[in-house]
Symmetry: C2
Subunit: 234 residues, 2 copies
């Protein structure tokens, strides 16, 4: 049982709280029995630490667990995981351009899985998907998706047979009225600025959601509605 | 110009950061030129404080502004507003049962305005709508809504001519297939627990969104999709 917060393993795990630490080690931490189990099923769980003999793993004291957890109320079990591979899955694709809020990122993952957008392309400006808030708000969806870090325009230029939709609140086609295909890409932009000029210039088909009085919806809500509408059976 | 953080007015404004302080004074604070303007249009702006002569209002030093702002990067203008009245508006109604995350509450307000759900019923367990994070994430929608604090079941029992929909991920009707009426109420529940037993017992018509693999969506995403679908033209 580990009881010292100065233990080397404990210090290594604590380093995984920062984006830099995670990138160096190619590892991240999940907290709580539900997420540890999901990580195990997904085949990426490397090591488990727990304060109770209810779970398998290295026993640690509560003080040590507090040091290894990023939440105010520490959990009883955490898992150290290896990062996902950079590959594409079957199904539709969601491309995120500088989505920065961890809650939005997590919610978008949840919706992406729910509507069959099994791959997410993330560009440079996106929040780190291994951020603990992203993982928590994804409610396990992060384990059921493929992620690709790339320049969106560049990546999409090599894709074939996909119908590409971008979003623009001013210059778009009403989403309820567009023809939908069997393989689709949906591009969503930054919370404040929408999609970048580089993407706008590409003349992808732009979509908008018909709304009243407000200029726009929250990006995770807009993304949810668009994925719902694009995959909706008539 | 106010330059002392010990000034009585400054201390009074700082009290409005807490839910208790806001309730005692029946006032709340909005930050930034956009929200101050919206509050003014809405007729609830009582007083303005600013660090620049670009805006009307009492001049204050940057140190004082920092004391009166709840953000890390203080704005140049804040407004003290009186709370909204407890009345119902025309249009559909959104009823929120213990929605606790400020980001979700703000996003739901944005979607509610966008889809014509102009009144929001909030029960005891909901986050304080005058919380600064709620106001920021509502993007001004808070000024275009009517709010009623009430027990949901009790309030709805006095309503006539409204079609009432509740939400239940296990026992519901596919939202794409239900008959929609001209006046609707949509009930959404707590982030972790969904709607309460008290509401479930009422036998309102339950809705669900057909999704794959995940158990549920984030409540603000689900609410957005449901409001979109219920008011969608065919």
């Amino acid at each position: 049982m580990i009881t010292s917060v100065n233990n080397d393993e404990v210090k290594e795990v604590a380093k995984l709280f920062t984006s830099k630490g995670r990138k160096e080690k190619n590892m991240f931490v999940v907290e709580g029995p539900h997420l540890v189990l999901e990580a195990k099923k997904c085949g990426i769980l490397l090591k488990t630490y727990t304060t109770t003999d209810k779970y398998e793993g290295t026993l640690v004291s509560e003080v040590v667990m507090k040091k290894m957890c990023n939440t105010i109320t520490p959990t009883t079990v955490i898992g150290v995981c290896k990062m996902f591979e950079n590959k594409r899955s079957e199904g539709h694709i969601l491309a995120l351009d500088r989505v920065q809020d961890p809650g939005n990122m997590g919610s978008l993952m949840r919706s992406a899985v729910s509507f069959g957008f099994n791959t997410i392309i993330l560009n440079e400006g996106c929040v780190d998907i291994y951020n603990d808030k992203v993982i928590r708000s994804s409610q396990g969806a992060i384990f059921r998706l493929s992620f690709i870090k790339a320049n969106i325009v560049e990546y999409l230029s090599h894709l074939q047979d996909y119908q590409i939709f971008s979003t623009n609140v001013n210059l778009g086609n009403d989403v309820t009225k567009v023809e939908k295909g069997p393989k689709m890409v949906l591009i969503l932009g930054n919370e404040g600025q929408g999609v970048s000029e580089e993407i706008n210039k590409m003349n992808y088909q732009n979509l908008y959601i018909p709304i009243k009085k407000m200029e726009s919806l929250n990006v995770s809500v807009a993304g949810g509605i668009l994925m719902y509408e694009l995959t909706r059976s008539k």
